[in-house]
Amino acid sequence: MNRPMRVLLAEDDPNISIIARLSLEKIAGYEVTVVTDGEQALNEALTQNYDLILLDEMMPKMNGLRVSQEYRMRCAAPKPIIFLSAKSQDSDVREFAAHGTGHIAKPFDPTLLPQQIRELLEEPA
């Protein structure tokens, strides 16, 4: 196996980020960087080389959808974006699909999170 996959996790709730990080590092063996608001997420995503970006939808300063829009506009070769959101209405889900690779509903099961991410990444875009 090559170098571990580098994941940017943008999540404002510290408890959820602890759980998601634990799951991604211990179960999937990813390398996880956590940021807590939309601006940091955008900065990190644009300046560092991540393989995957996990965005909470509701974040301080900039919500997930806007981060994704800005990032895709400014980045020449954008990396896959997956939204983590408690919003589960059809219209929201359609929006997530339009702005990213996919969406994982909160509350998520951390033992299944790596598998859900793999499935979303393997799906033809």
């Binding site: 408890n15 759980i19 998601a20 509350p107």
Partner: protein, 448 residues
Amino acid sequence: MNSIKLKLFLLMSAIAGANIFFAILTYSGFAEFREQRRQLELSRDLTQRLIQSENQFAGAINIHKEIRNYIPLLHPPRRSEELEKLLMAAQKGRVSETRERHQVLVKNEFEFQRHTRDQLSYLEDKTVYFGLLCIFSLLVGLVLLQIYINTAVLRPLRDLARKMNDFLHDRYTYQFSVPGSDELGRMQATFNALAQRVISNMEQLRTLDQAKSDFLSIASHELRTPLTSIKGSISLMRSGIVGTINEMADNLLNIAEQETDRLIRLINDILDLAKIEAQRASPQPEWSSMNSLVTISLQSLKGLADQAEVKLLAEAMPPLEVNMDRDRIQQVLTNLLSNAIKFSPKGGCVIVHCEINNQHQLVIEVRDQGRGIDPQDQEAIFEKFRQATSANNPLVKGTGLGLAIAKALVEQHGGDIGVRSFPGEGSTFYFTLPEWRYSSIKNLEAAA
């Protein structure tokens, strides 16, 4: 001064006044005409008698007594005087004077007749003229009245009726105009005030609706966030990646995890129901295949059914399309099916059956072989948080909202939901959908 009543009164008075004025002129002309004609006849009579009296007795004029009767009738008085003098002269036997007066009188009467004939034709013209003016003024007055009623009453009324109709049909493009100060203006002002209130109420409702939406969205986020942490912590602990835990602790964690799941389901259901009841999530119906919806619903519940060792079957049905919001109807069918699975005994069978009832509605039935539902519970189970529980029917895990949600969704589609059940013989839950059609061959080909 600006009241329609006063204006109408003034207009009617003017019309009536003009009419009476011309009518009086007409009548007075006619009365004078009649009087002159009488005088003319009298004069002719008189002259004839005078001439006769002359002819009868050549030389001596014998004035008949009857002629005296004319004296008070003649007009103007000068003529009576002349006649009186003649009679006086005749009585006194002054022959030459009598003859002279007789001649003058006859001559004067002829002169009077000629003058009166002219006068008569003038009076006739005058009567006709004023009579026509009388009719004409009445017509003009009526036309003016009609125009006034049209502009001051009927047009504003029509206008107001149109605006009211717009409101009735939810078109709120109301242009507020400054109302006049008459009765209709006051009505218009009242309507304006009403309209203003309706519009501001609507805005208030929209604000409330927005507030409710915001609340739903915040509530769902705020409730789900801590649950995500709780559920995540438990499930990571149980997965063993943070070290092994003993069996007792695992059992406790299992309970915590199951109850957390239940809480999550409950919150999801409450939020769903709130959304449906707020009509915020209005259905977006389109024609879609019922057959594939049944197949997909059965597939999605296969895991649950296998776990409960229950068989899921769909009876054969003709290709049908229904005008529906697919996701919602799938939720209805899923709720009914998962209930049926939950209440089925091991090795039991759950059957989906579609048919057209005698009201030409599509009926979808879900039959189970559970223990059935007591008649007194059959209505209550569609209410929120009601499950039919009794000694021989212990609470089965669920939120008690599945049927309430299904009912709300079916009613959004204009259908009915219900159950037929006898204790011990299983239950048949059914719902109806009014807008359905057979799939045409063209559609089938397109689908294939």
